[in-house]
Amino acid sequence: MQIIVCIKQVPDTTEVKIDPKTNTLVREGVPSIINPFDMYAIEEGLRLREKVGGKVTVLSMGPLQVVDSLKEAISMGVDSAVLLSDRAFAGADTLATSYTLSVGIRKIGQFDLIICGKQAIDGDTAQVGPGIAELLDIPQVAFVKKIEEITEKSARVQRMTEEGYEVIETPLPALFTVVKEINEPRLPSLKGKIRAKNYQPQIWASKDLEVETKRIGLDGSPTQVIKVFTPPPKMGGEILKGETTEIVEKVASALRERQIV
């Protein structure tokens, strides 16, 4: 089974701080990591390979520093890695990103399954996976929490919903986006780390791909960010200390007054 996992390098948003003086984002020293949801995607790819055989390729679009993340994927046991990197890809929104990745996937060629994370923690859009599926004209299942059964031709999976889950059957090739519940990502192995050290991913620029230049980067992006701001710091409300009975009395009547309970 040929599996392609799309991974994005993102700033570790847990390390992002707001400068209290300027009220802007401090990104100095914020480490870049593989999007946490994509770690589940990698792990699921590896588990499927262990089960049914085949090959796992990771694919990413981004600046050259993404090579570090691709090497990390290699150290976890992924077979090969491809990076789509070009100034012309910069400024891509989800439409242009989905398009560029879908062209990259076509160039990789054969695939039975594409796995994406549920969403990327920097943009939180969850749009790129379904976008790729649409552009490749393959079926998709978003928010997969379990692969119940898989063969060369089809898969039966559980898709997370607000109330529980749905069981969905799909022919392959298909695209899944996966949620945290699906597995627990492994740590890199020593062997993997050694391989990663000397591994050089394929790097494709715009000229290496059959892309329509109008559809990539900023030019291929219908949406445009016009303003970025830090949300006004939430007003801390009332702090209550002291006698439990008094506090409880106070909170209960305040909630009553506001007709919340």
């Binding site: 948003t13 649409e134 445009q224 409880v248 919340i260």
Partner: protein, 398 residues
């Protein structure tokens, strides 16, 4: 190709752009701004921050569509098991404001089976028109036929704005539709407004795990599409007098084809109500110390007829299933009342609950970050406070 450049003669090294850049892509070297092109995403935030017109963002001229041929505000009416989901009424409430500003009609599109009655309910909630596609093939949500039909209707009627809930269904469906239409889509918006001059939808949403907010537009493509976070907008009020029209649309069998097959729908959240829908949520964190103490949370939730939530720490410890997790990697909730017990308030937790209407936090550490977002912060031992609250409310609500 579009590109960005600093005009060296104009740059004074004032650092305004450095502060404005959300991607830390600009540094000042010897009194000149330098852009790190690996980090720059051409978002343009710096351009508007510069008082010296020293930054130019050159954009390739885009193909112009004629926005004036697109008119009206549409919302996607999400139904499950034949019932309109409440997020739809929120979309109608917000859509109405936008439609009034633009002086256009508000329409809903509804796909399902035997939905006539529910279509009437959409009208009572303010829809001027309901486009109804009624077929046994559309009874339950399926990506492919839904995407094909929604796209067809949009191409036929050309609304200028299209809104959908940022739910599991919405976030599976709308990205496909947007790609088919080659238009822009903004995910998970928490604020919408109109710039009247150009009739543009200003779409505001959190990014970077809620650390920043971004306002996004889609100027050259139509419709302008957005998914909207559940429980942020106000529901449209019920008005039995409001009149509207139901327009039934027929489609040929070929449009109903789906490669995926829905085999089963399983409902899991048993003990309490669905977290995303709950008006009251009581959540527990590591401060509970042991799994059996979740009982305290459940008891309070039960008295308040609320749902039980949890921090990731509690989930990771195996005290409660993942489906209860609130936060960045769990669910985003926006209840009327959120009671956080023994939760420190890490940013990943806060992004999932900070838009709740009222937040009560119980924590024994008065410096816990949860108090920064709490409407009522109770500094105290949860093992005392929570049972006392349960007792108090069970008396009050008897």
């Amino acid at each position: 190709m579009s590109d960005i450049e600093i005009i060296q003669e104009k740059c004074v090294g004032c650092e305004l752009c450095v502060l404005a850049c959300p991607f830390a892509a600009i540094t000042i070297v010897e009194n000149l701004a330098i852009i790190d092109y690996d980090r720059c995403t051409l978002c343009g935030a710096c351009v508007s921050s510069c008082n010296f017109e020293a930054i130019v963002l050159r954009k390739e001229k885009k193909e112009e569509i004629s926005p004036e041929t697109y008119k009206g505000v549409w919302v996607f009416a999400e139904q499950k098991k034949g019932k309109i989901q409440s997020v739809t009424y929120e979309l109608l409430g917000e859509g109405k404001k936008l439609a009034d500003t633009l002086q256009v009609e508000l329409s809903a599109i509804l796909l399902g089976y035997q939905m006539e009655q529910e279509a009437q309910n959409l009208i009572k909630r303010g829809a001027d028109k309901v486009y109804l596609v009624d077929s046994p093939f559309l009874k339950d949500y399926l990506d492919e036929p839904y995407a094909v039909i929604v796209t067809d209707l949009i191409q036929g009627y050309k609304p200028e704005i299209f809104l959908c809930g940022a739910t599991v269904i919405g976030r599976s469906l709308i990205p496909k539709v947007a790609v088919k239409l080659k238009t822009g889509l903004t995910a998970d918006c928490t604020g919408l407004a109109i710039e009247e001059e150009r009739r543009l939808l200003l779409q505001t949403r959190p990014a970077f795990g809620g650390n920043i907010m971004a306002t996004i537009i889609c100027s050259n493509h139509r419709p302008q599409m957005a998914t909207v976070r559940h429980k942020v907008m106000k529901e449209a009020p019920l008005n039995p007098e409001h009149e509207g029209e139901i327009i039934r649309k027929e489609f040929s069998q070929t449009k109903f084809v789906s490669r995926t097959k829905l085999l089963d729908i399983v409902e899991e959240i048993t003990s309490t109500v669905n977290l995303a829908e709950a008006d009251i949520i009581v959540s527990g964190g590591r401060g509970l110390k042991a799994p059996e103490n979740f009982k305290l949370i459940e008891e309070l939730a039960k008295v308040l007829k609320g749902a039980v939530g949890a921090s990731r720490a509690a989930v990771d410890a195996g005290w409660i299933p993942y489906s209860h997790q609130v936060g960045q990697t769990g669910k985003t909730v926006c209840p009327k009342l959120y009671i956080a017990c023994g939760i420190s308030g890490a940013i990943q937790h806060l992004v999932g609950m900070q838009s709740s209407e009222c937040i009560v936090a119980i924590n024994k550490d008065q410096n816990a970050p949860i108090f920064k977002v709490a409407t009522f912060g109770i500094v105290g031992d949860l093992f005392e406070v929570v049972p006392a609250l349960t007792k108090k409310f069970s008396e009050l609500l008897k």
